[in-house]
Amino acid sequence: MNWTIFQHHVYPIRHKLYRFALRITGSIPEAEDVVQEVLERVWKSSEGQATDVSNWEAWCMTLTRNRSLDKLRATAQRRVVPLDDQAAKQFDTGDAARATELGDLAAQARRLMQELPEKQRLVMHLRDVEELSYEEIAKVLEISLDQVKVCLHRARKTIREKLVAVDAYVPANV
């Protein structure tokens, strides 16, 4: 792996990889490990392999997905709901009240999304959080374009219903 390629194409997307791994594993330490392993794997890839990659982001995201799923299988945890305190820790902005509020919101969002079937959850994350195109999502998740569209439609529909249900319990000023 060439340092220039790593610096310009791989390293800048590490946060994206981390969020994706976190979405799949639902565990902060596991997500950190996944990103570390993916970055190492990419760095140690041979020059020949590196020149074949046309879309670094998609390749890294696919590696992250595979590694995260491996970890999930290894721990026999197909569905992991993140702990609320872990979620709150992610949004440490220095303002305690806001951090709690955002932590609650994030935990709520994660809970809503984590309850979705795996494919829908990942499609929604890649589209709504990472803003990937349908084609890129299909490539990363190794599914068809139609499947991507169907999954996104179902996921948004479910989330909207859940938001309506939750709405009754959320204060109006949030």
């Binding site: 946060h15 949004f91 969002a109 439609h153």
Partner: protein, 204 residues
Amino acid sequence: MRTLLDRYWEGETTLEEERRIKAFFTAAGDDLPEEFRQEARWFRILQEEKSVQAPAAKRVNLFPRTTQRWYSIAAAVILLLCAAGLWWRKNVPEPPWQIVQNPPAQKNERPGFLEKPMAAVPENTSELAQSPVVEPEIRKPVRLKKQADVPVEDDTCEDPEQALAEIRAALALVSSKINKSKETLDKGLQEVDHVEILLKRKNG
């Protein structure tokens, strides 16, 4: 905006339209009509989700551990060989056949040389004519075991200064080899440090 939002929930919007929706809610902040309250919360959550960052990278050892191990082993072996060589030169006596073949210099005798010194040459030539002829006794070469097998070498360094220079040259050669290995290792470690510095800079 309501139409756009409905299309969003149906999964029919393009990426560009979705960005417009997000920008709308970001710009509006809390100053929004009641009908958008639910969506506002959702897009705020998405925005916060996107702000999640990976923690500072752990130290990534980009120089393969196996390579490091081999360099260490090579360096250790070289050092051991150097130490063993020096000890050998200092402590192990010369083989016996070499001692016999190279007797002390002051006696000036080697196998095959005259054992007895020649008689003084008389000044008077008539005395020389009368004096009996003394046949020199020739000592036969000492044949030692292994002499035929072992190549006979003269003492390569009779001069201590020259011997010291030779040892210095040998050590300089070994040292240069060690330095070369060390430079390769240092280069690898510098690369690791460089990566780490850049990672830290990126993490700000």
